[in-house]
Symmetry: C2
Subunit: 350 residues, 2 copies
Amino acid sequence: MPDLRKDPIVGRWVIIAKNRAKRPQEFSVLPSRPDITFCPFCEGQEDKTPGEIIAYRREGSQPNGKDWRVRVVPNKFPALKVEGELSKKGEGIYDMMEGVGAHEVIIETPDHVVSTSDLSEEQLCEVLWVYRDRLVDLKKDRRLVYGMIFKNVGAAAGASLEHTHSQLIVTPIVPINVSEEMAGSLEFYNYRGRCICCDMIQRELAVEDRIVMDTPGFIAFCPFASRFPFETWILPKAHSSHYENIQKNGVEDLANTLRHVIAKIEAALDQPAYNYIIHTGPFDTEELGHYHWHIEIMPSLTRPAGFEWGTGFYINPVPPSEAAAFLREVEVDFRESRNNPTRRAGQGGV
Amino acid sequence: MPDLRKDPIVGRWVIIAKNRAKRPQEFSVLPSRPDITFCPFCEGQEDKTPGEIIAYRREGSQPNGKDWRVRVVPNKFPALKVEGELSKKGEGIYDMMEGVGAHEVIIETPDHVVSTSDLSEEQLCEVLWVYRDRLVDLKKDRRLVYGMIFKNVGAAAGASLEHTHSQLIVTPIVPINVSEEMAGSLEFYNYRGRCICCDMIQRELAVEDRIVMDTPGFIAFCPFASRFPFETWILPKAHSSHYENIQKNGVEDLANTLRHVIAKIEAALDQPAYNYIIHTGPFDTEELGHYHWHIEIMPSLTRPAGFEWGTGFYINPVPPSEAAAFLREVEVDFRESRNNPTRRAGQGGV
């Protein structure tokens, strides 16, 4: 069972996932790219993953068989486990609890492609909809309070498998980054009576120079205080605190925006590794006036080093207005990108 | 002039260092190792760096000439600049200020070696002493409030030059990580009347299983809530909030501890990239009862990915007690390590 341990000074939690432990020597080398010798996420390999939690599949097809479009399975090497009690305990001056939670993998397509931009708009709609389905289901478990959906693409962004997938980690406490976001947003709300993200949207649309895309329901921009070069955020224009309250037409608009923004980043920067993360409200809250869900997309171009680790400051060598101007102007052609052989692994049997 | 920009939601500051900007295409590839074709830090290349701020050198030798042992110079590509006024201003809903500060490089030896463990104990004493000298000098500038000393070794830890060096970035605001540490320590102090780090030292010495080294003046251990595999902290046993109050005999003891701990990490993990960071009190405070300066050493074995970026949680696959047991048992032989040809670059002219 993994431990959740709290840093006694700053209150940051750490998951000590003993079940992932290797021998010290095995940590000497960071893998330079994901393993592609065998892919457990491809159609026909359903028995290589734990049994599916949910799948969108052809009517009449069998669970854990072929003929699916999107498939959600437990992570084979979970950071947190769904069984067990939330036993909180002290160890001397330290606080810990058992690592109860959930760690799921969303396999986004049966085809061996590597990026969100390789999905059709219809496929991406189903991926975004299954995110919602899982959050709605998991928030019924009263032991759990937060669901973080994220995606790692490329070894430099932490991906260990190439086949395009996202992950959902559900934690029994609100993560420190989220509670800081909530606290900062609430402070602004109490002072100004408005949502800070709604204000940011107004400001960005007025100034224009950090906008990457402006669609009917969403805005994509490089934030004023971007930590990373080409960091891009996507926000719904209509205020909403919880991702899982998204509607079908919202998902279509979001799929269009997300797919284009990622394709633009990939075209501009020659297929970089990247992460995206959905920031959403905690399970134990209803619709909140002060919090605004959003997606943060971060290409892995720079490495955090001593200064960033020590201070929490980031040094970003690309002004966000320059990054946005560049991304606005990039043209993307999905047919070409999807058929680009460098984007599909030449794996046997796929 | 670089900008300092504040994230309006969480209050995190970012340095937008326009002077470091490159064209977007140049960000496509992360360098896999530092450039070693030419080294501006080697003896004889003094004119390739900005003029020295301070150097410990042979009596009678000329500034910016040969015959130095430790040399501190301004960073040629500074994240912050020492000239200018601290003009704070708003941009719509956003806050920013000019990037006033200092960014210095401590060249730790005239020889082209790559790690702290390649220095003799006498050399490391001088490095640790020059850290102190620079902090004492810079804190006289009333515009500046915090000095962060850190070291990046290896490309995976963010080093862009191989020759062993550390850096000092001085900021006009207290970094968010430091203010969180200060706040957490103060809360404990107000509640218990004791320094939390002094309590941690007692606890670690009593439990023993996370101790890496125990010397007369210092303790090195893998913290209970380690974020990273083999993360190791070094704390002075006697309470002290500001690194720059260290004495000559303290420096000798610290040099011995730091050099051994790093050599142990390097032997255990086959010369990993690593960072170390000195956490110390802000310039505008005197000796504080609640804050305890320390060094955090972090081998670069895992990469932060979407989950870490989103939550601020870390997943650490190696329990700290296992890491500490392993490091305790590693024997280090400095003569062998210093003569190891893989640890010296085969660069012309060195």
